[in-house]
Subunit: 380 residues, 2 copies
Amino acid sequence: MRITKFAIPEIIFGHGSLDHLAPCARRLGASRVLLVSDKGLESSGWVERVMDILSGNGLEWVYFADCSSNPRDHQVHQGAQIYLEERADVVIALGGGSPMDTAKGIGTIVGNGGRISDYEGANKIMRPLPPMIFLPTTAGSGSDISQFCIITDVARRLKMSIISRSLVPNVSIIDPQVLLTKSEELIVASAIDAFAHAVESYLSLLASPFTDHQALRAMELIMANLMPAVERRDPQALEQLSIASTAAGMSFSNAGLGIGHSLAHSLGGMFDVLHGLVHPVLLPHVMRYNLPVSVDRLAAIGRIVVGPRMASAESIARAGIERLGEFFAGLGVPVRLGQLLPDRSALETIARTAVHDACTLTNPRAVTWQDLLAICEEAW
Amino acid sequence: MRITKFAIPEIIFGHGSLDHLAPCARRLGASRVLLVSDKGLESSGWVERVMDILSGNGLEWVYFADCSSNPRDHQVHQGAQIYLEERADVVIALGGGSPMDTAKGIGTIVGNGGRISDYEGANKIMRPLPPMIFLPTTAGSGSDISQFCIITDVARRLKMSIISRSLVPNVSIIDPQVLLTKSEELIVASAIDAFAHAVESYLSLLASPFTDHQALRAMELIMANLMPAVERRDPQALEQLSIASTAAGMSFSNAGLGIGHSLAHSLGGMFDVLHGLVHPVLLPHVMRYNLPVSVDRLAAIGRIVVGPRMASAESIARAGIERLGEFFAGLGVPVRLGQLLPDRSALETIARTAVHDACTLTNPRAVTWQDLLAICEEAW
């Protein structure tokens, strides 16, 4: 086995774990924190709740809410300026992938200076970030666990993948009760994002015994719990989706991803699509593309999706991919690329950009931009 | 689900991962490190290898080797004094549980002052320790992963369990090639220690979805790989034992242990027995004691030990316990307490001490010292 690295934040998980926020912040040296969240969360009441917890424990806070659903470079720089002007000492992010990635970007600039685009790619961050505590409100992005930060470069119209050990927060406080207030669309999009993290990291060139079983477990939990979570808002199913998202985060943060995410980043940089809604469209085609080099691993995924059967690895793998497409369709989300984009004119640009995304490096099968274009055409 | 915490160090795993030592140390601010190891490891050549790596990378080191196989309080204080006198800045431990626990004790005193007995129990360490990098040379103690530190109080003739989040090292560098130089007895004792960690943490009152699957995975890997590792020194089997020990460490560090370890600590404080050799004697009896409250969990363990079968949970659980006793006997280690101790005269003291060990708190079934004495008598 080659050398493998495995790093995750300290995790506090469970109903009511939000109560641990103030002691954690104080342990990390907080006296005045920058709280990063977004407008959508204000209406749910969680932002106020966090502010109350901080104030009630003698901690000052500065609030920054300028995070769009695909966070942008200028938002990161604005947040970093506020952090420095206000002399904050710890960053707390409350929300889904967008506020968390914005917080990571802010931490990067605060600790390292320069422009956020300076850190695009893997292992470009050389100096430490301020302490970070994340409070995820969706079960999907895995940003609360991962070494990944995805920021849109507005001028270039692309999503930059920034990957560094330094981007793992100090503590992730995961309170599944916040999921109860989520819309059906957000629960589905988040769970599918987590599922795609699990699949792509399991197929990744950097997959290891430390990540494999986290990935497989995430897939099992999502297949078993997504329907009850959506249909009945079953609290136990929502909790299991949180565990699945965390497991998928442990896997992809350390094993990396693949061309499904390269394409999703490229597409999301040009069109403001909810990230989790790109995977139902692309994932089955990406799996099919990787089949020639990953038969056994796709068969292991197939066994989770369709159940154990006696058949050749290839036929189980194919059956799994088919069934997954039907499963996504049954969730009522778009399953053709044509439903997400206005026309095919951007496809070549999407493919040419995606081939340079950092996630392409760990895809099990080599790709050219023409291969990526063919996948998009197949998914149209 | 109640609130659960999960914390592990950054892990670098694989053949040749020792090469990451110098960059890791530098990243943690090292210029002059305290290297903690023991005499036994000097003859294996690994101590010199680590010294060469440090010197070759411009790092100064001070060497401390006064760690006995059940490390003692005065050794910890002596090491802390050397750290401070020599103005060291990072602690590196190379070895099994003993040098690693000594290093944790040294770090505790350096960062917090006082006597090591001041920190006995859970969550008594209030100030941070110096940065620590651990290089485990046995696949068993899990000290490189865990929040536990076991130090013998010489005056009281007992092993203190010190448990704190602060005792998790910053980085654990696990290079399975160091296991190739181990004796058969040490491989067996270490693997059984890891197996006992997995079993007791899986039964623990603090077990969670984050620890359960690590525990089960550790048991599976040890059952499958211990024999080939011992009989043929099969490198792949040894690597799998390393992975198992790491998984068991992730589990018990976060879920805690039970009365098997309470008794092992108590017994090890009075008699200088190799820790891993206590479990084959006690574990089946401890499992049997816990059976009335943990039938389903002991059945899950039974399915790993004897393979899946159609039978009641209780009968699978019992079959697993029986088979485990035979498995230990087949390894050629002592399986009766009478083989480890001179006579029964110490049993009552052992039981009375063990009932106050921190590990007793997480045992699934309540115990009195009389219950513990009965377990010892049964195991005699």
